[in-house]
């Protein structure tokens, strides 16, 4: 039994990170129909920037805040310099632009930072807490609570604030959004900034457990994308469920079968789900009355 709990806790922790990456995909996809494959790079930048600021003597909390702000700026620049100028290009071209951007960011990170694997200390100690025989790292709780907080804040933002609703309106009908006076370009910029900040936060929360280096972004983007597809691209609740599910499947496979098969098992489940439900778990039939 304690084994199972152990796998659940590690699966949830990794899953929370996937969920945050998937949420980042969703935020940008909703606002602009772009699938941003540089999403994993935001996680890497969040972790790596914190590491280097911390090593340079910045207090950890300040390093984390600065890392999130710097990454959000990178997200905004990505939109302004690479995506916005290509407005009107096909979705495939836009995806290739984001893949190019991710390679570029990885290259820059290699030069600005280095090629080593890094971590910084956990926020509140490294000693595991024992719950019913399972050892849970305090940082795991930070990841889970932090992830929940991010989802909660964004939920309130999109359902309660006018700006949040304006982002949703832009996603739903850009022409109509312009016609009620919404600056749709600004909403897209906001989405990229938000998405990058969410990615960076995931990096900050997870790095003490998962470690980081300049090249962790690619794998994370792939897992996050898979999680987003599993839960239906564009649905925040789908990102959450898809991410956690992916993390749990991986952890269970690694624990009970072999860690060699964890990626394979995860993708087999995703393929099976998508085969039966092509729109993903939370996909709604697109039915609009005219």
């Amino acid at each position: 039994m304690y084994e199972f709990l152990q796998f659940v806790s590690s699966g949830m922790t990794v899953g929370a990170v996937y969920a945050l990456v998937a949420l980042g995909f969703t935020l940008i996809y909703n606002a602009s129909d772009v699938v941003n494959f540089a999403q994993g790079e935001f996680v890497m930048l969040g972790g790596m920037t914190t590491v280097f600021l911390y090593d340079a003597g910045t207090p950890l909390w300040l390093a984390a805040v600065l890392a999130v702000m710097i990454t959000a700026t990178v997200g905004v620049l990505l939109n302004k310099l690479a995506v916005e100028p290509a407005r009107g290009a096909s979705v495939v071209s836009l995806i290739i632009i984001t893949i190019g951007a991710s390679i570029f960011l990885r290259g820059v990170a290699q030069i600005v930072f280095d090629k080593q694997i890094h971590r910084f200390p956990a926020f509140t100690g490294e000693d595991p807490i024992t719950v019913a025989g399972a050892a849970i790292l305090p940082q795991s709780l930070w990841v889970l609570m932090g992830g929940a907080a991010i989802f909660g804040v964004l939920y309130l933002f999109f359902t309660r604030s006018v700006i949040g609703k304006a982002v949703l309106a832009t996603a739903n009908n850009r022409l109509a959004a312009k016609l009620v006076g919404i600056n749709t370009t600004a909403m897209m910029t906001l989405s990229f900034g938000l998405s990058a900040a969410v990615g960076a936060l995931a990096g900050v929360l997870a790095t003490p457990i998962t470690l980081t280096s300049y090249d962790v972004g690619g794998g994370l983007a792939l897992k996050g994308f898979a999680a987003a597809m599993l839960g239906s691209m564009g649905v925040p609740a789908g990102a959450l469920v898809g991410g956690l599910l992916l993390g749990l499947i991986e952890a269970m496979t690694a624990g009970y079968i072999s860690s060699d098969y964890k990626d394979a098992a995860a993708f087999i489940v995703i393929l099976t789900v998508l085969f039966v439900m092509p729109r993903g778990l939370f996909g709604r039939a697109v039915a609009e009355r005219v």
Binding site: K165, A166, A169, N173, A176, K178, L179, V180, E288
Partner: protein, 233 residues
């Protein structure tokens, strides 16, 4: 209120508007009628700034807005209820209206919403429902109400009667007419020429990207060319 001079616009290499001149005075209902594909919707898209003008000028309340971004024109008081309603289908009726008031953050928004509900009582009943689930007529009402929430001095209406049952056409056009008494200047684009000319003060007939006939609404209804081509008489 709105003065358009030699307005041209193109989709790629194809010019859709070949120099349109048009005038809307404060307090008027002006209609642009014409067949499908005459360029009426393109004209309104240019006026709202969601389609670029390649030449000519649009002057709104004394300001040249030809190159002003679409969302800023709304702030100046130029609103549009677009063709095909274009409501926010995934948001509630009430949120659609609140977003109409996106540029306004004051207590008057509640009052505006009450006025919108007074014009279209059915929307009050459905205020918590998703707008995508409304019937065509209700969506049209929502599109007009949402445009009114921007507090326009001039409202552009694109085909408000399109696809509606005859009884709803009459109801929607009645509301359009009543907007005039609320002090809103109206530019109404319609294929349903007879219905539009009936509530309008003046009209323009548009054919293949040009204005071909213009005059008082009664004159146009009496004009044999208009009667034959557009009124089916």
């Amino acid at each position: 209120m709105l003065s358009v001079k030699d307005l041209r616009s193109r989709y790629g290499r194809i010019e859709a508007l070949h120099g349109v001149d048009l005038e809307v005075k404060s307090g008027e209902i002006v209609t642009v009628v014409g067949a499908n594909g005459a360029g009426k919707t393109t004209l309104l898209r240019c006026l709202s700034g969601v389609q670029p003008a390649s030449a000519g000028s649009i002057v709104f309340r004394g300001d040249d807005v030809t190159r002003v971004a679409a969302h800023r024109r709304v702030g100046l008081g130029l609103a549009q209820s677009p063709e095909g309603r274009q409501i926010f289908t995934t948001l509630s009726v009430e949120d659609n209206l609140r977003l109409g008031a996106f540029l306004h953050d004051d207590p008057r928004v509640e009052q505006d919403m009450d006025e919108a509900f007074a014009l279209f009582p059915i929307l009050r009943q459905k205020r918590r429902q998703l707008a995508g689930g409304l019937s065509g007529g209700q969506q049209q009402m929502l599109a007009i109400a949402r445009a009114l929430m921007t507090r326009p001095s001039c409202l552009l209406l694109d085909e408000p009667s399109l696809g509606l049952a005859p009884i709803l056409v009459a109801q929607v056009l009645d509301v359009v007419k009543s907007l005039k008494s609320l002090g809103v200047t109206l530019l109404l684009v319609e294929q349903n020429a007879f219905a539009a000319l009936n509530i309008a003060d003046r009209g323009y007939v548009m054919e293949t990207g040009r204005i071909t006939i213009s005059g008082e609404a009664e004159e146009l209804i009496a004009d044999p060319r208009v009667r034959e081509a557009y009124l089916g008489i």
